[in-house]
């Protein structure tokens, strides 16, 4: 659902230079609130659901808002959330939801069906790109009474119980004009979830307070603090000292180094997401330009329009080696579009279909496409021009930079000259929307329902989620078809066929399905709840279950932990400190010299 952005943002580093004065000094009051702390290297990007794309923002929305229908903790099946129950008419065109009468907004107003209707209609009317694909099938929405919501759809739809749209309070948002939907700050943030965001300092922390009137019962935890770190290493140190209770999104090797730490549980669980090599397959057509506002020209290399060239690239990449070297086995080797975590819909390829690692096969395919090394310089050429591609990695993620190094090296073996460049997420987004790229490495996280991740390769997502401009008629029509297939086995067949098409066409080379890596303190908290049961992660999933179940292990254990820091820093730290001192010292000397010269002159 959101762009996986795992490693630190350079901007955060800038903030490291500012004394982080206020962070952490938040325990207050006489009655010692129960505070649960989360460490993260990735900050929120916005409090506004129409704007945010980063994972921590989505985690906040999970706590702050309610969905109409939730995802169960056991197996992600539909489960009551704002709607206590629902039924569908014969033929599946009319859906009736019965809302929980206890539900209240954080400011005390009751949550009614009018709010749901308002939220959905606003998204449909304004065509809000981040959410519109959940609601395209909706024909009408009615709210006959405050506790009943009736939605009719244009066609039978399988999506009506997996709409990942936070329900917003009408009495707040109706005052926000249309042109401010995405720029609205949404602070204070009023929702109906178990917690409410009360304070956010960019790069420092986010503080949430419990909602005592939560309709499923108030959780034990009084306060949640997201503490933001500039660097995973610092975060791990803080975690070891007991300053935070939960950390996630850390480099594999650091994660593995926490194994066996006392009072700590490490959890590596398959997450519904992947990291991919994307290719620019944009061919400007009047339809793309007029209908979707796509750019008038493509700056991508024309060779990538040839399926054989894309397949050649796929053959030249050793996904297994990448999984082994970069993820150190904490993930699965990449293949098809729907991650294996969505077992029912994931296409497992036959041995014969897999485009494995075979440089010779890659060279053959390039030759078929007309690219041969005629001048003997090691780079294949066509019409006198060498095949040279640009490959963008994300400066925010060392994993993508490492992957780019491997891919560059393999492609050069196959005879494709590759220049690598690390760019910020913002710049990469701009380059993609203006079709000024050849290859890039980025990631996606999927919903529990495969619809979203499938939509990413559709033509109708041009200029929204599509980052390859790949457009295939069969794929597109099957995408529309699977939305209406109420027989889930049939739907799975269609979805697998779509994945086979996408795999053969290779607009993406899925490199690996990264596991979600978490570490949390079991000596201080109980109630860690995985979703789905037994295989999923404890936080950053699709429901606030862990937050609702958490309890401090014992009264004194929870409160006293802060005082007992071990104090002993590792020798390596000391050495680094000394080096830093030296560098600073010699810098000062150099500056001082300059200063004294100026005084004299």
């Amino acid at each position: 659902m959101k762009r996986l952005s795992m490693v630190l943002v350079a901007g955060c580093l800038l903030l490291a230079l500012v004394p982080a004065g206020l962070a952490g000094a938040q325990d207050g009051g006489g009655d010692e609130p129960v505070v649960f702390r989360i460490g993260s290297v990735n900050d929120l990007d916005s409090l506004n659901p129409f704007k945010a794309v980063e994972a921590p923002s989505y985690e906040l929305f999970e706590l702050q808002y309610s969905l109409l229908v939730g995802f169960s903790q056991k197996d992600l099946s539909p489960t009551p959330s704002l709607a206590e129950s629902w039924e569908t008419s014969e033929g599946g065109l009319t859906w009736t939801y019965h809302l929980n009468p206890e539900a209240q907004w954080h400011d005390g107003e009751p949550v009614t069906s009018e709010d749901v209707k308002y939220t959905y209609e606003r998204i449909i009317e304004e065509e809000q790109g981040l959410f519109i694909d959940y609601l395209r099938q909706v024909e009408t929405i009615e709210a006959p009474d405050p506790e009943t919501l009736v939605i009719t759809t244009k066609e039978p739809s399988v999506q009506m119980l997996s709409i990942w749209v936070p329900i917003l309070p009408k009495h707040i948002w109706e005052n926000v004009p249309e042109d401010e939907t995405t720029s609205f700050k949404n602070d204070p943030t009023i929702g109906s979830g178990p917690f409410q965001a009360v304070e956010w300092r960019r790069g420092q922390f986010l503080r949430l307070k419990v909602n005592p009137d939560f309709y499923r019962g108030a959780p034990e935890v009084d306060e949640i603090i997201f503490q933001f770190y500039d660097n995973p290493d610092t975060m791990v140190q803080a975690f070891k000292q007991g300053e935070v209770d939960y950390i996630y999104g850390l480099p594999t090797r650091l994660f593995q180094s926490l194994d066996g730490e006392e009072g700590v549980e490490t959890l590596s669980s398959p997450a519904p997401g992947f990291t991919e090599l994307g290719m620019n397959t944009y061919e400007p057509t009047p339809e793309a330009i007029d209908k979707y506002g796509a750019p008038k020209t493509s700056e991508g290399h024309p060779a990538l329009l040839d399926t054989r060239v894309r397949q050649a690239i796929n053959w030249a990449i050793d996904e297994a080696e990448l999984t082994d070297k970069i993820l150190l086995g904490e993930g699965e080797v990449g293949s098809t579009l729907v991650p294996p975590a969505l077992a029912k819909y994931h296409l497992e390829l036959d041995e014969s279909q897999v485009m494995g690692f075979d440089i010779d096969r890659s060279k053959e395919l390039l030759a078929e496409a007309g690219y041969k090394d005629t001048d003997g310089n090691g780079v294949v050429d066509k019409g006198g021009e060498d095949l040279e591609l640009r490959l963008f990695a994300r400066s925010e993620s060392t994993d993508t930079v490492d992957a780019a190094r491997y891919i560059q090296s393999w492609l050069e073996e196959a005879g494709i000259s590759v220049s690598t460049e690390a760019v910020s997420d913002n710049k990469l987004t701009d380059d993609i929307y203006s079709a000024e790229y050849d290859l890039f490495i980025w990631g996606y996280g999927s919903d529990p329902d495969p619809d979203f991740i499938l939509s990413v390769l559709t033509c109708s997502q041009f200029m929204y989620w599509s980052d390859t401009f790949w457009c295939d008629e069969d794929y597109q029509s099957m995408y529309e078809e699977q939305k209406t297939q109420l027989d889930l086995d049939q739907r799975a067949d269609t979805i697998k066929e779509m994945q086979a098409i996408a795999y053969q066409a290779s607009p993406y080379v899925i490199l690996f399905y990264d596991n979600s890596l978490e570490a949390y303190r079991t000596d201080k908290w109980t109630g860690w709840t995985r979703q789905p049961e037994g295989t999923g992660s404890v936080l950053f999933n699709f429901g606030p279950y862990t937050y609702e179940n958490l309890e401090p292990v014992s009264a004194e254990g929870g409160a006293a932990a802060g005082g007992t820091s071990t104090g002993g820093s590792s020798p390596a730290l000391l050495i680094v400190g000394v080096i830093a001192l030296f560098i600073v010292g010699s810098g000062v000397v150099a500056f001082m010299r300059k200063g004294s010269r100026e005084d004299r002159a």
């Binding site: 350079a10 290493d233 140190q237 650091l254 990695a393 400066s395 073996e413 390596a572 050495i575 010699s586």
Partner: protein
């Protein structure tokens, strides 16, 4: 006539040679300066020969033979990084980028600084005033934030980093040069030259420049140290080009890969020590040069 001219040139040349020899003699007596020079020569030699000592292929990730994060051993004297490459190889290759960026940045900085400094000092009135204000303006901008903002606006590459450092470090040089020009300008021979009808270009190139040049040269050596440190800082903050190996990017990658928690000191220490040594060496040379060029300092 022509033979007489030749004679003048020969005398000039001789005088210059004698000055150089004399300077070298003074320099040689300076222990710190000599230590610095030896270290510098060592690192510059390594940087020049980097491709011979360590062929570029040895840095390829797909060809990496070592185990990841292996401590120093016979095969890998300084251990390996997170992808199984030899740290020693990386440090040697990194010297090239670090020094190149340092030198390019310094050239940019010195050219801008000297030109503006000379112009601001020589031309009175509007030109001088405007240039001086410009210099002051750049001087009071906090240097690191400006460098960070510039580096993050532009796509990271070797030249961009050098450019960023260059255009953020010149104001100090400009002030320095301007002050010296102001003093040189007042000297009688400049006045005489002007009385004889010499133009501005003639005076600047024949009389001012030769007199401020030693100062520029000594300052250059110090600016290189600052430039190398800045390159390290920017790379460490993730603003360098992660695909080129410099000491700064090595430190960044070591930090990102969690070397501190993992206790992999061999990943952090070598590039750190290399930076310290080079910066120290430049600073020591700068000190020594100062003494050579400014007799008033020699008594210390």
């Amino acid at each position: 006539m022509s033979s007489e001219l030749l004679g003048v040139r020969a005398v000039k040349r001789q005088r210059r040679r004698r000055a150089v020899i004399e300077s070298w003699r003074v320099y040689r007596r300076n222990l710190l300066g000599m230590i610095g020079l030896v270290i510098l020569v060592f690192f510059v030699a390594i940087a020049l020969l980097a491709d011979v000592i360590v062929p570029k292929e040895r840095l390829s990730v797909t060809g990496a033979t070592g185990e990841a994060f292996a401590p120093p051993s016979a095969g890998y004297p300084l251990g390996t990084d997170e992808l199984g490459r030899s740290i020693l190889d990386l440090v040697i290759q990194g010297s090239q980028i670090s020094l190149t960026v340092g030198f390019i940045a310094t050239i940019i900085s010195m050219v801008i600084g000297s030109l503006i400094g000379i112009a601001a000092g020589y031309f009175e009135g509007w030109t001088g005033a405007v240039l001086l204000r410009l210099t002051d303006w750049f001087l009071v901008i906090p240097f690191l934030p400006l460098a960070i903002v510039l580096a993050s606006l532009l796509t990271p590459s070797l030249l961009v980093i050098a450019f960023v450092i260059g255009i953020t470090t010149w104001p100090g040089t400009a002030r320095l040069v301007r002050a010296q020009v102001l003093s040189v300008k007042q000297r009688p021979y400049v006045e005489r030259a002007r009385a004889l009808g010499a133009g501005d270009a003639q005076i600047i190139s024949r009389h001012i420049l030769p007199n401020v040049f030693p100062l520029i040269f000594a300052n250059t050596v110090l600016v290189v140290a600052i430039a190398i440190l800045t390159e390290t800082t920017l790379s460490f903050l993730g603003l360098g080009d992660p695909f080129s190996v410099s000491w700064g990017t090595m430190l960044e990658f070591a930090f990102e890969a969690g070397s501190i928690s993992l206790g992999a000191w061999w990943y952090l220490v070598p590039p750190g020590v290399a930076i310290v040594l080079v910066v120290l060496a430049f600073t020591m040379c700068g000190y020594a040069l100062d003494e050579v060029l400014d007799p008033r300092l020699r008594s210390r």
